[in-house]
Point group: C2
Chain length 402, copies 2
Amino acid sequence: MSDAARTSVLGSTGAGDLFQLLRDGRPRTRAELAAITGLARSTIGLRLDALTSLGLVGPVADAISTGGRPPSRVALLPSARVVLAADLGASHAHVAITDLMGAELASHTEHLEISLGPEAVLGWMVEHTDALLERLGKTRADLIAAGIGLPGPVEFSTGRPVNPPIMPGWDAFDVPRWVKRHTESPGRSPLPVYVDNDVNIMALGERTHSWPDVDHLFFLKVATGIGSGIISAGQLQRGAQGIAGDIGHIPVARGAGIFCRCGNEGCLEAIASGPAIAAAMRRDGHDTASGSDVLDLVRSGDLDAVRAVRQAGRDIGEVLTTCVSLINPSVIALGGSMADAGEHLLAGVREVVYSRSMPLATEHLTIVQSRAADSAAILGASMLAIHYALSPEALDTLAAAN
Amino acid sequence: MSDAARTSVLGSTGAGDLFQLLRDGRPRTRAELAAITGLARSTIGLRLDALTSLGLVGPVADAISTGGRPPSRVALLPSARVVLAADLGASHAHVAITDLMGAELASHTEHLEISLGPEAVLGWMVEHTDALLERLGKTRADLIAAGIGLPGPVEFSTGRPVNPPIMPGWDAFDVPRWVKRHTESPGRSPLPVYVDNDVNIMALGERTHSWPDVDHLFFLKVATGIGSGIISAGQLQRGAQGIAGDIGHIPVARGAGIFCRCGNEGCLEAIASGPAIAAAMRRDGHDTASGSDVLDLVRSGDLDAVRAVRQAGRDIGEVLTTCVSLINPSVIALGGSMADAGEHLLAGVREVVYSRSMPLATEHLTIVQSRAADSAAILGASMLAIHYALSPEALDTLAAAN
């Protein structure tokens, strides 16, 4: 038995799932699908009917005739339906239409403050969704699902933000309900809408983009805030309240006397985020208004900026040392705007993690810059929507309603 | 769709598993099992045949006649087969025979140093297994599987210890192979043997004993060493090298200048474990040779001992604060011998975790003493063996060999 099979058992999981199987794009016969899954032929038939009626799956002609009547094969039709993927950040918004593999077909980004509130921000999102669909010659009826990332804690089961610190007006707002209402399409059932924390969707995107076979991936975002998305045993870990990975307010040694907007002292975010580094440099006489000014100085070779970023990397490394002991990931990917400082931030992180962790935990540990980079969030939002909207349970509901 | 269903989808999981269904003890017809699982009637038949031939499942008479020929129901036979469960600690060893629900039928404990090496310790285990079976009027042929906990990192997929610091002679030793060889039974296929870290099995046992509905449980063991077992999204998290939860060597603030046996400075284990508390008290003139002497003083009301244990709780709380932010558990259970200090250790932990964590992470967080207490490890070892040995894949193999 493989380790994956062993793992799947303890978690009361079981056979694979039909759509997940077909997501690799390979055509298969009904008999093959029944053999692989152990599901009854009648169950296979029902699920394929649902997928076909939704336009997701269709018959495929065999390339080579084997003589006689060939068995009919079915396969995923990746661009028959499309996905709305949105990354709504603290001060930027990015909306895209993707295909069923997560590839961007059209997208739009602009500066937008999340603090404008849910109706303004989601209204902007819907407006641009319609414009992007039109640009592609498509309509709302072509959307199969929506995935949305927000810069705060989200109760995943309901899609409602939970006490988000930088999102006034969003607390407990029913995002899926609002989006469903404002994306109605005549004769269609409401759009399935999935909402998650932005760092969680970045972790999903990073894995899809570059580490599909890595089951233990830790994604760290360093930007205006600091947060992480944890994939363990191949699953995104959200925790009991959906706030797993919220490491910005863990205290670090160098933080004594530095107060955080959360009310505590010495939080990682108050020491090592973009604004925190900029503030520390201002205290030393530099003219750095934001993290992006710090990055400009780093790029110009300014030694003070390089030193400040490297020190932030060490502070982050202090917290990551604990993450490494606790979670034992095989890959740590650093993303977010401050990861653009490249090797300097990474060098500080590595210096501390490799010197302070147990040898067994770092022997096979890779610490790198995010490879998905700017595409992580949209790709992850699209994957989130596809995974959940096209689960067997959801497909049954969709098919029954259509 | 429930959150659990949503969660199961993203991890490429699917329908339930037949034996897991029957583990609740409720009798069901074949038609009911097919309806619940979506599996083909022929698949249900094959799996039930396998379970029946192994003596795990059998027909059950209906209590109430509904007229006509009643449909035949099947149910789990909890004590038809038994499980070998062992908790092999640093200086103690506990071996038990349990039923299929994890209940101890017979057990034996004694002082035994793990450093005697694998052949001596596992030999002791097999010898006492045979004696316990005899006491129960059973033989090796009645064993369905073995679950073993060891006090060090274990590569779960192979059952081999990986660089275990306090287990000379055990590194990479093939525990399952040795145990299979030494528990041979004429005409029977080899015993399935599962090996895991002792704190992982304690976490499984704690959950089974008292928190079956809690999907995010953090089990902390404080004894000669300090370690944790993490259950997230209902699954035991082992990490990439099987060392997730190994938090004993995370540095804590009060540890500056105190060196750990791992070679680093200020590790949690060097400050807050039983021996560390005893050593600190010796430096203050007390006659405490071990953690158990400290506990005796605590029980006698010695204020210095109470203070030392409470401070250890605070140091542990410092690390747990990070665990809470990172993993977002809903229950933290404190076990291991030092947890017998009761409210004093717990009070120190709570003091720091509740003051230093984000309100959202602690709003619904319960921090308690382990409820399974001394039974956690054996119960967990038994559950480990049952879960894996009786997975569909394993049952197929077993049935084919029998």
